[in-house]
């Protein structure tokens, strides 16, 4: 849940959301879904210029980019607005490890020399940590926000262990050249706390797909769109406790775990073995895995790209 600065329109729509009636709630959710996620697959109302070939098409929201640009300088301040992201980071590795360990391939997939693509890397919290793991061969990390990326690059210079494994690119997934050979694909494509900030989530995930190695994993984390998450991530975290900068989250962009599951397994092909882990942040204690909490709060989700036969 990286922070985003409130652009005027988002801030006012967020204000509209402060006291939703259940009916209004459902309507907003349905509208947002129509615009972004589910309908892009049903084609009932396709998003403008959704053809992957259109070079101008982007899932990047300009408001989001400016929000994160403004937050760039505090990204690595352990007591700053990104503190709870830092605290969440070890769980990402636990989750990826558990996903990779959960399959019984014969022969088992290699446990070293792994290649990561981190989409929407922000200041590089996950990218740096992935690059430090002995099992990692390389990490490619991309983000459309130039300020955030320059913070990431400057921070990586502070650790001599990173230079050989970690490379950053200031680009969106749409602009990243597609892999031409299987060797150019990635064992893990990670999309952490990003999907709730992009304009067309389904298209965005489609753009990520060709980068996933057959047998590799697409791993993401986001927040379920429920009453609880509206209360905890928008009201408590941003307004009351102020542990997340105001305007970071637009609740309408949240996607539920079963929607994610349906998207990959029913509306798309070539995906299997979905995995999920719900996590809860307890102030003063940290992040904790809580089984079933994916239904109402932050969750990790992963699907495996089916190996070509």
């Amino acid at each position: 849940m990286p922070p985003r600065n409130g652009s005027r329109s988002l801030a006012s729509s967020a204000r509209l959301l402060r006291r939703p009636s259940p009916a209004q709630n459902t309507r907003i959710a349905a509208t947002s879904l129509n615009k972004s996620f589910s309908t892009s697959t049903t084609r009932a109302s396709p998003p403008p210029t959704s053809q992957p070939t259109d070079a101008a098409f982007t899932t990047v929201s300009p408001d989001e980019v400016s929000h994160f640009n403004a937050l760039a300088s505090s990204w690595w301040d352990p007591q700053g607005p990104s503190r709870i992201l830092h605290l969440m980071n070890p769980l990402r590795h636990d989750f990826i490890r558990s996903c990779r360990a959960s399959v019984l391939d014969d022969p088992p997939p290699p446990s070293t020399g792994l290649k990561y693509l981190d989409v929407g890397c922000g200041g590089g919290i996950f990218a740096e940590s992935a690059a430090r793991l002995p099992s990692t061969a390389s990490v490619t990390a991309i983000d459309p926000s130039p300020e955030v990326l320059s913070v990431a690059k400057a921070h990586a210079r502070r650790d001599p262990a990173l230079a050989e494994k970690l490379s950053y690119a200031n680009t969106s997934i749409e602009q990243l050249p597609l892999p031409q050979t299987p060797q150019e694909t990635f064992d893990v494509v990670s999309v952490f706390e990003v999907i709730e900030h992009v304009s067309y989530p389904a298209e965005f995930l489609d753009r990520c797909t060709p980068f996933v190695k057959p047998g590799g994993w697409l791993v993401l984390s986001t927040i379920a769109r429920t009453w609880t998450s509206w209360l905890t991530t928008n009201i408590m975290a941003e307004d009351v406790l102020r542990i997340v900068p105001r305007g970071t989250h637009d609740w309408r962009k949240y996607i539920n775990e079963e929607e994610m599951r349906r998207h990959f397994l029913q509306k798309r092909t070539g995906w299997a073995e979905p995995r999920c882990m719900g996590v809860i942040y307890i102030p003063g204690f940290g992040w904790k895995e809580v089984s079933g909490s994916e239904k109402f709060g932050n969750y990790f989700f992963a699907v495996r790209r089916v190996a070509e036969s």
Partner: protein, 506 residues
Amino acid sequence: MEAFMLSSRQLRRPAGNICRSCSRRLKLRATRSYSSTSTASTSTSQPDIYDVVCVGGGPAGLSLLAALKANPTTAGLRVALVEAQDLRKLRSWQPPPDRFSNRCSSLTPSSAKFLDRIGAWAHVDRARVQPYHEMQVWDGVSDARIEFDWALDQDAGRAPAGRKIAYMIENLNLTAGLLRRIDELGGVTSFEGAKVEDITFGGETDALDLREWPVVQLAGGKQLAARLLVGADGANSPVRTFAGIDSKGWDYERHGVVATLELEGHGWGGGDDSKIAYQRFLPTGPVAMLPMPGNYSTLVWSTTPANAALLKSLPAKDLVALVNAAFRLSPVDLQFMHTMSSGQEDEVSWRLQHTPVSAPQATPQPVIGVQDGTVASFPLKFRHADTYIGERVALVGDAAHTTHPLAGQGLNQGQGDVEALAGTIEYAVAHGQDLGARMSLEPYLARRYAANHVLMGVVDKLHKLYSVESGPLVPLRSLGLSAVNALAPVKGFFMRQAAGSGGKLF
């Protein structure tokens, strides 16, 4: 030592977080930048980059290095030891079996378990380690007494195997064992007899920004850049000073007098499998006699600086007499004898005839001799650092806290620190965290600070409680001691805490 350096070079594993080629490249780049920014005197040497640089090769520092190298997750880290003393003497430490060093510690079973887990316990000379199974603690003013004995503990199911309260061990035996274990594991770059001239911050090049990395400057020009700089460098820790961490506390105006004593026999239990530790609270401070193998014991007598000076100046026979008196005569008699410049031996034997005799095992067996050259003293202090961590800095052991020796917890606290820090580093490495970042070190602080603080507070209050000679506190504390003594479950609780096998209270 040359042999050690060679073998450690051969055994060094491929680099962990920092690969060798990067550190080579860094050197090249650093050369360029140093030559342009600094004077010729520093341009000749560039920092070697390490994941962990541990300053101080005492029990805490050596345990940490052994723990890191013994764990597969952290074994690949590039680690360095910086120790001011020449460790060759420690490597060849093999004293005669009837001579014991005067610096001994009481090692709890939980510390021993940790040392066993990191593979160091097997390298300790066990013939020189003495477990004890019972404690006799009493108030010198009122004679109220508490006996700690596992046989009395009703909650025996939770007692540690062997029913030992703790192990008495010479500090040199422990450090020699740890060093043997580190040599066996290999992979530690050791700078011995090395003087730390300064600790500074690193520089900046096009590719690297080490301005937040501590760089240890050794005499002779060697520079060690540290992802994590560990201060295991004692109460006057230069690492703590570098980190700007304040250490608060007070001096007790007491000195601890230590000596290796020879007793009349092998203890009241008759052998090494049934030994008793004794501690008597005198108004000037506690005096403790702790069993060593055979008919030896180690003395720790906390007393005023003037008394300590007298004890150190006395001929052996008079010191022996005063030690025997300290466990038997009244505080008033004792005080008088500290005013005598000689002749304590005759005075004690005369006064003992007029002192009522309690059960023999209530006091230690009579002392008959003191080993030459073992009488020494050191000032007692209470110090607690404001924090144990900073950006790329962690403090362990005496660098973090110094306490009164009356509970024998100083060394165990250090081992507890090391266990927690090694666990914190392991978690950081397993999750790709920068192990030197303050955020990665936070769990270490959380696990140790409050625990040490509580324990040190209790120890300090005990000292103050028992330095009162008269008034309402004396019957109250006696009542407390007697009440605890009568309640087996409460005593069991205290013993488990002392043995480190209780709940996670301390």
